[in-house]
Amino acid sequence: MSHTELDPRLAPPFPQAALPVLRNPQLRKNVAHATDVIQGKRAMLVAEKSDWQELRSAAAAIRAHALENLGTYLTQFEERCTAAGGTVHWAADAAEARRIILDILRAEGASEVIKIKTMTSAEIQLNPALEANGIHAYETDLAELILQLGKDEPSHIVAPALHVNRSQVREIFARSMGRSDLTDDPQALTAAARSYLRQKFLSVPTAISGANFLIAETGSVAVVESEGNGRMCLTLPRTMITLAGIEKVLPRFTDLEVMLQVLARSATGERMNPYTSLWTGVTPGDGPQRFHIVLLDNGRSDILAKKVERQTLRCIRCAACQNTCPVYRQTGGHAYGSVYGGPIGAILTPQLMRMEHAQSLPFASSLCGACYEVCPVKINIPEVLIELRTQVVDREREQPVRVFDAMYVGMRAASGIFAAARRFRSAQRLGRIALLPFTGKDGWIRSLPGLGARWTATRDLRGMPGQSFREWWAERKDNQQQ
């Protein structure tokens, strides 16, 4: 497994990044198998809910309402959380969030922290920043632990090590824990992780988490998980630091009734996730006695301001879109060059990068619409993909080098051709002549130059027939009139 930080600023374009994965049978098998299993479980649990579409609508409405009134609900959250003994920090970008967290850890005198799985911390590249400042972060989520010990990166939002199978896990654990006796029996592997992690839970007094939801009404934070590592981190340490995107807020406590139902079913194919932890500030004598929450913007306000793109922020990170996506199924998550892979990553990452990086991602989709169909908060991902593609093209229109881009030139030329039927007819005739040298005796094209070669590398192309439909129609009409 290659170790590359998932940084959209440095990542190669998607088509290039996908190549090594497409040629990796183990990885493709792992991803296809894992996504099939989760999709199958999800489909069963969605089918048993007769009101699934109503639940989706309710979840979408709750999220949309929260975003439309985000300022109000965040202020309310800050007030209630502060009143309950929490400290609320605001971070405009990744650098500020890292600095705030480092300052808290320095004040705590921490040289180690334990972490509950948080994608947002990967978004802000937190672990390398901590490491550079002499603070070691221990991932306690089993999948994150596998990745950390294997010097690998997350490839899926819910199951970050989805691309790794158990014999690979055995190898990683055996090497890094000095346990050459380990078998690839899942129970043995889990037991090894448990004893490794137990020491950390008992000895490290500072923890970092993400958040699934923030409740404005009560100032509470909700974290859902499957392994109980989160519960450990939320009860044993002295200090808890939570990093959350500002979009995570829900207006009322009762909104969880809808959100937890759609999240568990969509994410892991479970009726209810095994552990749901909720805490409000600090409770004397119970759990962490110091609680900090860092509310991260990092481009989210900009997304919020845009009409079509805003829906991106409804996302509750269930990864149902990744599991169903036929592109993700082939490439896995790393090709997306960001911790957010799959369809949601293809729209979220370029926007978080303010459309300065990751511009190949909006094009990394066949627009098949499977993501929209499963999204529990009804994000119309194809619609946002097209919107972002339009922005990429609009920017290209202003660049002089566009005249060397065959796709750009071709699309502009096609537009001129489609503007008048007379031009279209001429183009059809010209095309027939131009393709003739490439067309075999059987009427098929096996090889084309230029952009066409990207088609004929793996597919033949039917040659152009001698008569277009409109020519046939005109001829037929003439014959009928005679």
Partner: protein, 250 residues
């Protein structure tokens, strides 16, 4: 019944036999067809590739050309989805209220071929004969855009001699995606390989669909691999009879 055929740019250019089959089929069913010679493209390729201004010009053209037409029939679900799902957004965004109104009035009169047969003509048995084992590929736009549901199966089910072979993972994209197949040719090919495994498992002689775009993709690979299976648009199967078998490009 009178109806106008919007053949689509790629059917016109590359798959005229599909257009001829639509004409043969619908005339057999008593529909008087008309073909507007000024038609070109619905703008889908431009819209989906990010060329919105160009797509807008084509959308305008389409609505102006067809706003007074009684019924428009389109043998391509993705072009119908473009018109139904993207045109309203385009017109709203560009603030063209007149076109938006014309479109709203026109939309209920636009039909994909299988929709027209089942919903408008109310026929399932179109009198077709096609003595072959056939599998049906559900194009993404037909499945999730138009929600055509079981319409194609109801039509195929009534074709005499036809043996329908069910396709596994029916809801999974073949990887075409328009310019996606060029821009992301390798990923597109990987998706195609995965779809072909399911398609070939059916041991059908023909793979059919509502869209020649998917079929161009699948058919291009089947031809490359000498796989012994051909693609054929649904219209060509439905047009086929004992006396006049399906017209094919060999």
């Amino acid at each position: 019944m009178r109806a106008s055929l919007f053949i689509t740019c790629y059917n016109d250019t590359l798959y005229p036999e599909t257009g001829r089959a639509v004409v043969k089929l619908l005339e057999r069913l008593g529909v008087t067809l008309d073909f507007h010679p000024e038609q070109t493209c619905c703008g889908q390729m431009h819209a989906n590739t990010g060329f919105r201004a160009e797509a807008y010009s084509q959308a305008k053209r389409f609505v102006r050309l067809y706003r007074d037409t009684e019924i428009v029939i389109i043998p391509s679900s993705s072009c119908v989805a473009m018109i139904r799902d993207q045109y309203p957004v385009l017109f709203e965004e560009l603030g063209n209220e007149d076109l938006r109104r014309d479109l709203q009035a026109l939309l209920p009169r636009i039909f994909e071929l299988s929709e027209f047969l089942i919903d408008k003509l109310g026929v399932e048995d179109v009198g077709a004969y096609f003595p072959h084992r056939v599998t049906y590929h559900a194009s993404c736009h037909g499945l999730r855009g138009l929600h055509v549901g079981d319409r194609p199966f109801r039509l195929l089910g009534k074709v005499r001699g036809l043996e329908l072979a069910p396709l596994e993972n029916l809801d999974r994209c073949c990887g075409f995606g328009g310019t996606f197949s060029i821009k992301n040719a390798e990923v597109s090919s990987a998706m195609l390989a995965s779809k072909l495994r399911d398609v070939l498992t059916t041991r059908a002689e023909y793979c059919t669909a509502l869209d020649n775009s998917c079929l161009m993709h699948l058919g291009g690979a089947l031809h490359r691999q000498f796989a012994g299976m051909r693609t054929i648009h649904l219209a060509q199967i439905l047009a086929s009879t004992e006396t006049e078998p399906a017209e094919e490009f060999l």
